[in-house]
Homo-oligomer: 237 residues x 2
């Protein structure tokens, strides 16, 4: 690239990084609001999360346009190109995280009844905290191009899966104990699944950061410990 092109490209990259940071901040806020709304059954907060998702969607589209124009105008190669593609990929994952937070908020609207299993709600909160810290860490790894931190996030997904597995079993127990719990427990199961999927997106982002820095995919087979889709339920529990 010529010098003036490179300067313009650097400005473009800074814009993209700023947009990723803004989306990341919004996504974190949406997760924490959705979890808060779920915990306190707060319909006002839930409604705010539902409405607020549109902003993240709009930012993702803006970032996509900006990335594509940057590629067309500056014709970056190698590491420069990976920077732009990386920003687009991360924006996709953050947009999906926003959708998942919105889905939790939609469920809060119908959860307003007396069932409040303290242990379950603590499990949900714990999972949310884990996922939030993963997202913060991976966005930090992106901002600082910190390879080690990205790999750490990538490996930490097991912990989220473990909490999700124990929540899954707990919710099953409540459902089997009393059929009146079934409806609410199903909503909580879907909420927990959504939080677990946010963790998967944090893992994807870690992979993207790795690819941006190293130029090759993170391929080692990570032990995948989410067993909720393959848990054999004891039918005489």
């Amino acid at each position: 690239m010529m010098d003036h092109t490179h300067k313009a490209f650097d400005t473009d990259l800074q814009d993209l990084a700023r947009m990723v940071a803004e989306m990341g901040g919004l996504a974190e806020q949406q997760i924490s609001d959705a979890a808060d709304a779920l915990d306190r059954r707060d319909l006002t907060v839930a409604q705010r999360v539902i409405v607020g998702d549109a902003r993240i969607d709009a930012l993702q589209r803006e970032l996509e346009s900006k990335s594509v124009l940057t590629i067309a105008r500056r014709q970056p190669m190698a590491v420069d190109l990976r920077e732009v593609v990386g920003a687009m990929r991360i924006a996709n994952d953050l947009e999906r995280i926003g959708d998942l937070a919105k889905n939790i908020a939609k469920r809060v609207v119908v959860l307003d009844h007396e069932f409040r299993a303290q242990q379950v709600m603590r499990g949900v909160q714990h999972m949310t905290e884990l996922v939030l810290s993963q997202i913060k860490d991976v966005l930090d790894a992106y901002a600082r191009r910190d390879l080690a931190k990205a790999v750490t996030v990538w490996k930490a997904d097991e912990e989220v899966d473990a909490v999700n597995n124990s929540l899954f079993r707990e919710l099953l127990t409540y459902m089997m104990e009393d059929p009146r719990n079934i409806g609410i427990c199903i909503h909580l199961l879907f909420c927990a699944k959504n939080i677990e999927r946010m963790g998967d997106h944090a893992t994807n982002i870690a992979e993207t950061v790795y690819y941006m820095i190293e130029g090759r995919p993170l391929v080692d087979e990570r032990p995948k410990n989410d067993t909720t889709s393959s848990t054999v339920v004891p039918f005489d529990a």
Copy 2:
């Protein structure tokens, strides 16, 4: 663009279209195999679906690289640029559809027990057929740049939501009738949710086709009839 550049660009576009068609064909096959495996509890087919997902993931990455290089080399503008961005977006949706089919296949592995509610399985099959025909139609709309067909798919999502809602209520009834059904019904609930989400991705693809042709988003508020995340469950059922 100069003439020779335009010719090269046309070849690039044809390659991208061919890759989208290949991904679409694979995704359709994965859905139909996953549904078949679920219906017949066929572990061999389920295993094939789980393994086969990697091919769709790889194609999505290839298509992304090819798109980015095309943008950098040919610097397309306006409608030409939308063609490339559109292919990337559609590939993202097809990759997600593949993930959802894989998730259903993973659940088949643990469903091997005697509970076979004919009506529920018919509902799942019906939903799968609807979603498969939506995906076929929207890929056809993409291949022919058929605006009307894309809009038709976009509107047809209501039907999938309606089947999902009735399945949801049916599964709840089975769970409340007999706690021994709870485990398997939860897996079927997640399978139904996955199929419904495939329909959402078909809708996304319809929006992309519209954007490619018209250069603006499909914005009319479509009536959204998926109420499973906001169904108030009768607690004394």
